[in-house]
Amino acid sequence: MAVERPLSTFQLQLRRFAQNRLAMLSVFVLALIVLACFFGPYAFPFDGEEADFDYIGAPIDFSSPHLFGTDDFGRDLLVRVLEGGQVSLTIGFLGALTAGGIGVLYGAIAGYVGGRLDGLMMRCIEILYGFPYVILVILLSLLFGGGNVALFAAIVFTLWLTPAVIVRAQAQSLAQREFVQAARAGGMTGPAIVLQHIVPNCMSTVIVYGSLLVPEVILSESFLSFLGIGIKEPQASWGNLIQTGTSAMDTDLRLLLLPGALLVAVLLCLNFIADGLRDAFDPNDR
């Protein structure tokens, strides 16, 4: 007979998350969309930048090779939307991960070291907080000359502030705890304490706020691409696909609806997942 081990806090939290039906449904739908975006295009013999001159502006027709029709250049709409999804989702997750990582390290160092350095570091954050966020993203993506990397850098640069502030508050209280003092007395160096004691103990907060970062990054990306500043044609992204769809919407709504619906679905799922994580991980909220 197996002896049942008591569950760790993390396992309990995961179990609580798994009981949230809406959140689990969202995980499922999101996984489907991610899989479709990354593997779906391989199911078609053409890619999203290829023009098919026999089908220009074709309507939805499930018996033709182009299931959801083509755009004005004869490019397959479904494949373009899926490829655009790759860009949006990659930037979303990588962006949130990077911004979260930078924020966590910055906040952990500021909170653990404290004193003058903390004051200086927080001062910088305060000043950056005073900047109008969109303006900064627009300026930075112009500076880097557009394209994926530029957009990514601009978004990360503007989104690491909130995680930094949250982690710093936690790190401050952790720095006073006995186990950290013990580690210091035992001869552990500052960087090692930050990485091995402070950061892991901030994780549950970071996961909760990090999950809110993902939809924010995706929204920023599509927002910029919609304005013509982010990802540019011929490369597809949900933002510029929606923009193209908008200009043709009174005659042909599908060009707007397909990318729009996918974007909304992803944002909905991510918000529900973030809510679920907050309920499961944050005991103060219940």
Binding site: E126, I127, G130, F131, P132, Y133, V134, I135, I138, L139, L140, L142, L143, G145, P215, L219, S222, F223, F226, L227, G228, I229, G239, I242, Q243, G245, T246, M249, D250, L253, L256, G260, L263, V264, L267, L268, N271
Partner: protein, 307 residues
Amino acid sequence: MLRFIGKRLWDGGLTLAALVTLTFFVMRLAPGGPFSRSRKISPEVLANIQAAFHLDEPVWKQFARYVWGLLHLDLGPSTRFRDYSVSDLILSGLPYSLTIGFWAVVVASLVGVSLGIIGALRRNQPADYLAGLIGVVGIAVPIFVIGPLCQLVFGLKLGWLPVGGSGQGWRSLVLPVLVLSLPNIAYISRLTRSSMIETLRENYVRTARAKGLGGGRVLRVHVLRGALLPVVAYLGPATAAIITGSILIETVFAVPGIGRHFVDAALNRDYPLVMGITLLYGALLIFFNIGTDLLRGWMDPRLRHGR
């Protein structure tokens, strides 16, 4: 009190100074210049134009010139719109942006707070779920998706409202204001609901009831005041959200406001115009953040005497 305002203004000034410096150098570092995209012009003419806008000087000298101008409230000439100064352009666009922004905040506050109160008082009943649904939709459906759809339905198909522009008085305001307020309605109703539920459990509310005050009076005087504090605190960040939104709204609905000017200016490398609008946005944000803090202090005695 005065010391508090003084300190906040000083901080705001620092932020603005950092913003000016950063924006200025970022723009100069960016590839391309104001005149690199226009039709081919002979090098002599180009040199003349650049000299007229002092673009041939070293960057630090340009910066010094700009800051000197700023201190005299001179934002410089636009490099794109000949014969217009940046102040002219901003002043021509600002009324549109402010009108839309103002009404969006009013609508968002009224609708958001009402939805939140209904949700909190009728917890887990149909009305609560409906309010929650509106909240979710407002957060997850971006302005640039719902905006065009509204244009299509109310403008093109039903023909009730103009699709865009600014020519038809209040009728051309309805759609931009509603669409811009939607995400804020969502945030405000969520905030109001959760803080209202929390406030209903507070001791001072129980005390008020125990004193024998009527339910309506407790709700209006005691609960609402406490519950609206986080909502008031959100008004600062809401300004930022409205600015972001107005850039999109003005693009979608073809409103000649400063948000649209900003995007065009950034794409055309109209340095002085970009700088001017950035500064304006920064100043607005700082102004509203300070205002929000003052309002909170006035509403909540705990904040005033706490520290």
